[in-house]
Symmetry: none
Subunit: 209 residues, 4 copies
């Protein structure tokens, strides 16, 4: 019955999916380390343990691989955040706090800072990636924060005159912290725990005061 609507993947299709993911992961490492232009598909292939030509069986071009890399690495973070927010039962203050804490965790895990820096630097050269990135990640996150703020305003936790369209002001320090650690950690190391704490505290003061 189910076979009629959903697709039961064959062993071969599973194989393909596994390999596809191997390539994406290898691409993630290389793109994050070298940047888009400097990354050689040769290196991606070596890291993935496959032949160079094989990449083209799974992706149309270097650029489309890049997009998949971005897609795959940003979706989980976004989805987890949305699910958590939907299920959360506590106050807006607590939800915002937790949301920001999760954002810090996500932004600083693995090679996320590199990916973020690369997106910031190169996305403008891939117009449809900018579309995608805005639609799926930026806009989504913005709406999430806006809904939290509105909830807080409704409950009286936050002042009612903060312009909710400017959520960038609230999130920006988290983004910058990732960039900072990537670029300047050796010049001036950042205590992320304390920084995040200060940031969240600052946001709450600003929203309540």
């Amino acid at each position: 019955m189910q076979a009629l609507v959903s697709h039961v993947p064959s062993k071969r299709e599973l194989q393909k999916e596994v390999r596809r993911n191997t390539i994406i992961d290898a691409g993630f490492e290389e793109f994050a380390m070298q940047g888009f232009t400097a990354t050689k598909l040769d290196d991606v292939a070596i890291r993935a343990g496959i032949g160079k030509g094989t990449i083209y069986l799974y992706f149309d071009s270097k650029e489309s691989l890049f997009k998949e890399v971005v897609r795959k690495n940003l979706f989980p973070m976004r989805d987890a955040a949305q699910i958590h927010a939907a299920e959360f039962k506590g106050s807006a203050t607590d939800l915002l706090t937790i949301h920001f804490q999760r954002m810090y965790l996500g932004l600083h895990q693995d090679r996320m800072p590199q990916l973020l820096a690369m997106i910031m630097g190169e996305v403008s050269h891939f117009p449809d990636m900018a579309d995608f990135f805005f639609r799926e990640i930026v806009s989504t996150n913005q709406q999430l924060i806006q809904s939290i703020i509105r909830k807080g305003i409704a409950s009286g936790e936050f002042r009612d005159n903060f312009p909710v369209e400017f959520t960038q002001i609230l999130m920006a320090p988290a983004m910058i912290s990732a960039i900072w650690r990537l670029q300047f950690e050796s010049h001036s190391p950042l205590d992320i725990e304390a920084y995040a704490q200060t940031h969240i505290d600052f946001v709450l003061r600003g929203l309540k005061a």
Copy 2:
């Protein structure tokens, strides 16, 4: 009298200085539009209206031209800010307000957003440029803001428990606003005036509350 010791530039030397600047400006445009790697020195030469080889009479390499571009476009902003702060006589609140307003002006002028995005994205692949950038721009600006905050704490304008080492939290929204306009202006235009106003207001609330 002074002519004996100080250097009076000849016409030819003036010419060279002019041309050098022409190249830097052309490089700025191209680097900002294409990013470092994608920029062709051919295009820089065409834009500057000179032969390709001429670039090498003024710069050692593509990379050194890039550094000069960064230098030339960021120093004026930094210097103006420092001078202004040193001369300012009013309250810390006013100084911080004006400093941030100036920062917005600088970050959104001309092709500064592009340059900023490019630096964020590519600087990690040029270690000595990261050094230079941190030392000359980031660190300097950080110290300036710290001094303003300390002044405000001393005068009782600001609460005394804000950790001054985390000035990134205060500036970040301004940086992000530049990136935003570059990448997402078409998706969701930003009213910079209102945004800046909101940001500054938010910072002052956070520092005073």
Copy 3:
């Protein structure tokens, strides 16, 4: 049985070896005709009937191709001479005569004069090639001649007071004959057969007298 331990080259590997040799031969022709610096890898590729980039699948750089060219064209001559000398059973006089005759054959075959001239002219700018050339070719040949002379001294064929360290004096006319034909054949053609005969005769007189 042996197939288990020794390597049986696949068809593809044989192909690669063939192509590698094609490139070396094309390089030999071009280097010999134009000299190292004046040789364009484009021309080598055209002569080899392949794409320019293909060269780099087989050699790291123009210089390393050059070294392979030298290697491939000088080793056979050297090895043949050594084997012959080791197996020879006659007098030192005969052995020296035959060795010199072979040397003339080798030095005047194909494009060897050009290669020789190029090595003489350019090797000083490639220190490690000078090392290689001295070790593998010059020194080897020198030792071979020395052993023949010592043998002749021992047998009483040659006078015992010729300083064996100066074998250059004995070989030099053969080298110069190759250079001569390359550079001055049109001005003053050289009857190599007679020249070689005279040279060998002269050497034997000098060693016996």
Copy 4:
């Protein structure tokens, strides 16, 4: 009166001649050190202490400068040898000995080995330089040696069956010694005094035996 036939150089013309020589000497150093292709006219100009464009006031091209360098550095040796031979009153044996000794002095002085190696390696790519070199240097020297040998045959000092057309056989070791010291001095140093002595001794034995 003299002014009608011979030219009395003005001060300005002397100046030009001096500068011309300065350039040739600078060119000699650079060509000898770097080889023809690798030599940059920039470096020649710097070494000569003049502007780059000035070279073109005295020479048509890099190639013509090169020819002048060869010309200027080989003529004195040749002329001195000819004059000496013409004036010499002693035996053919002594004359040949002295001629060869002078040849060794000339070949090993200053940067002559480098120049020689460069000529050997590159002359084939400059057909008219080969003409010139053959006519002015090679042929001249050959004739000189031939005349000495003929004189020795006539006087009974040398055997009468040495083929005088093959003077290369006699001179070759001297040429090779210069090349050797240039290329292999560090691998196997050559005692030139002893080498020359052995060479001359060997030649005389060969001619007398």
